[in-house]
Symmetry: C2
Subunit: 459 residues, 2 copies
């Protein structure tokens, strides 16, 4: 896979496992995204995550899993099995394991009663079951739902139980479990991890790999790991430093951070929680420009991406989805001659689409996308069978236009993969063209941006 | 969780487990979607899936997991650890367990050499490693990549090893493993499962539950299970029949199928592999109508959904994303008076948006979406804190318009949840309004549709 640990894992190891309970996960009706979320969080906190496990709702299975994990790891996070139905049996199993009874968690019960009363619903015995936790356990109130979580000790493992609903699980983890898990790391004397993830668009993995050659040179042995991940069409590079000598660790971390910025420069659009769209938004908001899009093969995807997160109304005017050629002509003013001579997937058409939507929506910057996304949703062809892009308009060919106060530019790209991947890459590329159209004048020393505004670009 | 087995699991049980190998999965850099895919497929084939497990790339960990699973289950599917890098060690572990050596899989080696030669790449020793499999194992050629899979016996378990790349894993599973796993089920005398999944939009889980009361009455005990799953905003109901008496099983299956169609009727848009968009496409293609959308709060999402799958060009003209009010006026012809008096989130505005985009794009059917998606991406509020929708324009309020040859209709809906959920529900609802605008005239007996066309609606 796409992960190359540069150095071996740091020495002091505090181990963790993630256990999900539920037949619906085993049967594949639900993807276990909780495990990925928690795996990432535990790794950042400094744990060695040694196993993910999913078992059925059967009490025997839950019990066996907890007993086994309690022998082998320091921390267990359990999700699922805390609901009101008959197949939610986790509390009972833990009570049996510890030889205690289940008791009501009073503040959760009060909150639940208020919730039901406000809706004129009747409480059933099953609902009451939902706010029970093992006697003597560490209650973890649920800020986003009815069932509280709880913490107990099983064997050598500190175990935290949370509901399986991702939204509730995340709130409980972030509100209560993260600090407790962090304390466990500190108590065992394991160095907390210093991590940063660099988000990259516009450079492939092998290029990134090449540019970062020698990144580990001079780092204290066994304290550094660099991970590469492709999140198509983005690439992420994550650095992890764990050093018992804290200030040396910080110095290493700062050096790696500088190294990566120096080598990758402008293809890093953000770090950690930054999203591609948040970088776009920041750039447009700082410069007070307005954006519009004209989309053909992406069918609205670029607009949907821009508006997926809140905050788009500050800069995004809207767009035209010109899927049919008639719409390109009628709404965007693409000339029939251009379509006849060059075709819809051509730079002249892309230019007129961008110009048309810029005029129609009266914005500063407009981008256009017109291409051939293809007929297979996913790329199912054996690599060998993929024909080289010899004809100009093969699947994956996408033309782009940018129209702004400086005129109109166009370009053509050839993307690989199935329909979904081509469309995704095209929408990203168009939005990156829009961001750069605004960003590049700002980087010009003659621009009138204040230093404050300029620095806000880099976080 | 949302799964209620109506009857207990069928008696004859052939057990399976799914093992993923890879540090990147443990650390949450990759979500283990392979497990959900394989869990679903194994369950449909008739297996009881008893565990999903993820372990690290460490040979000891892989070995221990295989040994343990070999004691407990009949089938193990393993994904990951077959790549060219140093942390791909699965083949070596299996060779050690079985006391055999690794050998080249000749046809995979030939294919890989051709692939490299076509690209003028040099083969490295690591690449050669990629086409090795344990001596005497059952080779599973890879139709979508370089590394072949293989099958071996470990303890009581038949084990199939596949690469971790989902595209390659799926091709190998469907080409080679599914039939072998099915044969194992037949050989153990376990009845294959008859399953069908009903895809529903426009009715909540509790309503569905209520309508299907009594579904299991009269079914032979222990042969039937009914599972409910919410795939927001869709709901799926899956029936599973396993009966050693084959013809009785088929009769039960047919009766359940009829029961569900009778009770849920038109809210079932399709079954099994049907998607919401494929149902929309079928309806528009059969009637030869053309569709356009006008979107405000969804920002292009409805258009992106329609064009996500191939085949949209037969009926989808395009649309206008009118995120700003100025665009609603300027492009769609919404009157300033309407915006001033009723606001952008109003039925009068929705009506003019639908009319405007229908006229502009010259289509048969146009739908519009204008609403308040809210500022939190996910719904993070405690249920109690969610204010009842007392004001007319709270978060989640969305107005819709439909314009076609029969005039214009509007409606307002109140959706719950965060921004993502509201937008998703709104896009679905608008497209369902479009589908029904075309479908309902067809259901009129006086319509001119031929019986063939009518029957194609129901599959």
């Amino acid at each position: 896979m796409s992960t190359h640990p540069v150095a071996s894992s740091p020495a002091a190891s505090v181990t963790a496992a993630i256990l999900a309970v539920g037949d619906e996960v085993l049967r594949g009706e639900v993807t276990n995204s909780n495990a990925a979320y928690l795996g990432d969080r535990l790794f950042s906190l400094g744990f060695d995550v040694v196993a993910h496990l999913v078992v059925s709702d059967q009490p025997d299975e839950i019990k066996a899993a907890l007993q086994r994990l309690g022998l082998h790891v320091d921390l267990v996070l359990v999700t699922g099995g805390l609901g009101p139905t008959d197949d939610d049996r986790t509390v009972g199993v833990v009570c049996e394991l510890l030889g205690v009874k289940a008791v009501q968690h009073e503040s959760s019960l009060v909150a639940m009663k208020a919730w039901f009363a406000a809706r004129d619903y009747a409480l059933t015995p099953n609902n009451l079951k939902q706010t029970e936790i093992p006697e003597g356990s560490d209650p973890l109130p649920n800020p986003a739902g009815l069932a509280p979580g709880f913490g107990v000790q099983i064997g050598r493992a500190r175990c935290f139980f949370m509901p399986g609903v991702p939204r509730e699980m995340r709130r409980i983890f972030e509100s209560h479990v993260a600090t407790r898990a962090g304390a466990l790391i500190a108590q065992r004397g394991a160095p907390a991890a210093l991590t940063r993830t660099f988000h990259i668009f516009g450079m492939g993995e092998s290029h990134i790999d090449h540019r970062l050659q020698g990144i580990e040179d001079g780092c204290p042995e066994g304290t550094v790991a660099v991970h590469y991940r492709t999140a198509n069409p983005e690439n992420h590079v994550r650095i992890v430093v764990r050093d018992a000598d804290r200030s040396r660790g910080q110095a290493t971390f700062d050096r790696l951070d500088g190294f990566i910025h120096e080598r990758l420069g402008s293809v890093i659009y953000g770090v950690d929680d930054d999203t591609f769209i948040s970088a776009l938004r920041r750039t447009f908001l700082v410069t007070q420009k307005r954006l519009a899009v004209a989309e053909s093969c992406t069918g609205g995807l670029a607009g949907q991406m821009v508006t997926h997160e809140p905050g788009a109304s500050g800069f995004f005017a809207g767009g035209v989805v010109a899927y049919e050629n008639e719409v390109k002509e009628r709404v965007l003013g693409v000339e029939a001659e251009v379509l006849r001579i060059h075709g819809a997937v051509s730079e002249p058409c892309a230019a007129q689409m961008a110009l048309g939507v810029r005029r129609l929506l009266n914005v500063d910057v407009a981008v256009s996308i017109t291409g051939i996304a293809g007929d297979s949703l996913h790329d199912l062809s054996y690599p060998q069978a993929a024909a080289p892009a010899s004809t100009e308009k093969s699947v994956g060919t996408v033309c782009f236009g940018v129209a702004d106060g400086n005129g109109t530019r166009t370009e053509t790209r050839q993307f690989s993969g199935g329909r979904e991947r081509v469309r995704n890459a095209a929408a990203y590329h168009a939005l990156e063209l829009a961001r750069r159209a605004v960003l590049l004048p700002m980087e010009n020393p003659s621009s009138q941006q204040s230093p404050v505004e300029l620095s806000s670009k880099r976080k």
